[in-house]
Symmetry: C2
Subunit: 162 residues, 2 copies
């Protein structure tokens, strides 16, 4: 529910399930080595909610960086990963976790679907992370037109998945 009353900008969303994996601490790199299970809650979605998901090679997961202290969320600019040799960058121009609403979105490889248990690889979320949505990845939802990004972003991603 999204309130539209003056001064109230809050929406309520529900956790549909949680990530179960071996990584317990939010470290930066090597996420494609991770395999994890998303355990969906039968109180939130029916078993048929994943019907046909196995026809897709990849899914997009929307989750919450819930271990980030809300008081430490950045609403202005910061250096990515604290690296002062990289430019001072707005929080909405980077994908850091200490962002307003603490939402993460990642495309990961679907390994198996067993009812409300979804096994994936390359999801950059730690054990216990609340999942708000799962969408199939359609190639048509990639960027349309020529792509461009700054050098610091490419450098930051060097070991992110590998």
């Amino acid at each position: 529910m999204c309130a539209r009353m003056m001064g109230d900008m809050s929406c309520s969303v529900q956790t549909l399930g949680r990530v179960v994996c071996s990584r317990k601490e939010p470290t930066d790199d090597n996420w494609d080595k991770e395999s994890c299970v998303i355990e969906l809650d039968a109180a939130m979605v029916q078993p048929e909610a994943t019907l046909g998901l196995d026809g897709f090679s990849h899914i997009e997961v929307i989750y919450v960086f819930d271990r980030v202290d809300e008081a430490k969320v950045c609403r202005g600019a910061r250096h990515p990963r604290g690296r002062t040799d990289w430019p001072l960058t707005g929080i909405l121009a980077q994908r850091a976790k200490d962002r307003p609403n603490r939402l993460g979105v990642t495309v990961c490889r679907l390994v198996a679907v067993d009812g409300l248990r979804i096994t994936v690889s390359g999801l950059d979320a730690i054990d216990g992370t609340p999942v708000l949505d799962i969408k199939p990845y359609l190639q048509e939802f990639g960027p349309r037109g020529e792509h461009r990004q700054p050098a610091w972003a490419t450098e930051l991603m060097k070991d992110y998945w590998s």
Copy 2:
């Protein structure tokens, strides 16, 4: 804030801004023809929050399908667009708007950044849509490994952007 108490699966998120565009009704296709402005709220983010965003050609927008009646959200399976010639498909295996949490995620082309006013093209959201997050699109966040999707999904997308 995400409650972890028994039986309470809700999180609170805030609207960071709204979409301003000419499309007032949620029709299905031709979204790349749309140009719109995301107006961020100065009470939610500082003007520096978009610093450096113009170094990216594309952004990813997380938003709420707030015109969907919450009572009509699907938590099981349905035919995409009601097309019974397409397979009965779980709501998490399609990107339909009447989904739990009513969240949308779309990569669109960045046209201009002017402080907290961001002009984009190809955002499939109607006028007034609440925006929860904006992230830069990094090519490394695309799918890793070979991609596969069912025929109905490719057919559904035929005129989605064009």
